[in-house]
């Protein structure tokens, strides 16, 4: 596991960003969710949500599907296998950091 200068394990910065972590957390709890749902749950603006989803898609963490429903574009996001694995690894690293930084019992 790579470590940074402070001796802590390196955190996946793509996931560590709050908006993207929120999106991945929601998607990890369901099979798939549409754009409106993700916007409603995370409170992100349309523009920001779109940017974050694109970044996650480019990194291979989510699948984005666009379909036409009632003359409107319906965007649906789903966590990929790689996304699920990377999110689990992220939480493992975070737990390890927490254990390392916990004060020692006297």
């Amino acid at each position: 596991m790579p470590e940074n200068a402070g001796g802590f394990p390196e955190v996946d910065r793509l996931i560590h960003e709050p908006a993207r972590l929120a999106l991945l957390t929601v998607l990890s709890a369901c099979e798939s969710a549409d754009f409106t749902f993700l916007q409603r749950v995370t409170g992100l603006s349309k523009g920001n949500l779109s940017v974050q989803l694109t970044k996650l898609e480019q990194a291979g963490l989510v699948y984005i599907e666009k379909t036409i429903y009632q003359k409107k574009t319906l965007t649906t996001a789903e966590l990929s296998r790689q996304g699920r694995d990377q999110l689990s690894e992220y939480w493992r690293v975070m737990r390890r950091i927490q254990e390392q930084s916990a004060p020692r019992p006297e």
Binding site: A22, V26, C30, E31, A33, F37, Q39, R40, V41, T76
Partner: protein, 217 residues
Amino acid sequence: MDNLSRLTFLGRHSNDLQGLRWVPLLTWLLWDETFLALPEQLSGKLAALASSIVLVGAYFGLARYYDRHFGHLKQGPEVARDRTASWLLLVSAFQDVADRTQIWLVLLARLVLLIMILEWLYTLWISSSHTFRYYFVYLIVFVMIRRVLDKTNPVLRRTYYGLASAIIVAIGSLTLAQHWGMKAFNITTYATLLAVCIADHFVLLSLTATLTEEADA
């Protein structure tokens, strides 16, 4: 409830919180008996037909409202199973349960289900459908108890589901013991389930953000 728990909870249970969606169906099942009890009269049949059409329309209207305002979520198969009473019938229900209280609940629920089936067959045999209605509502109560036992639910939601379950079981038992008519049972059950549906809707509203163009992380 911290933000990560809120996000996980909504990702798993958002569809369950769309309480208003079930109000028309609930009304049709428990309230519409007034009209359905008048099959001999033409006005009764027309009223039943008209109210059914209105309630089906209302169901789809509310489904559309939720889709437009809260978006669409596809739940995982394990959550979809928990929404129904089918979890009681599964062998895996024993593996899922977190503590012994829930194991006893599953056993008790299965026993009641067995009694229900036997009772139903008996009432069919003697051509009476009177008592089956209570058991049908008890089945709903078992689904509701699942919400009480689910520790990922907010405390408020667990509390009102517990209270509602207790009220329905109490009125059902009183009705059977005191030989009351179905009216008090129907009205109390309807009012209780209606309150639960509305409360679920407000929990959903309180846990989700209002859509704005300017909102940011």
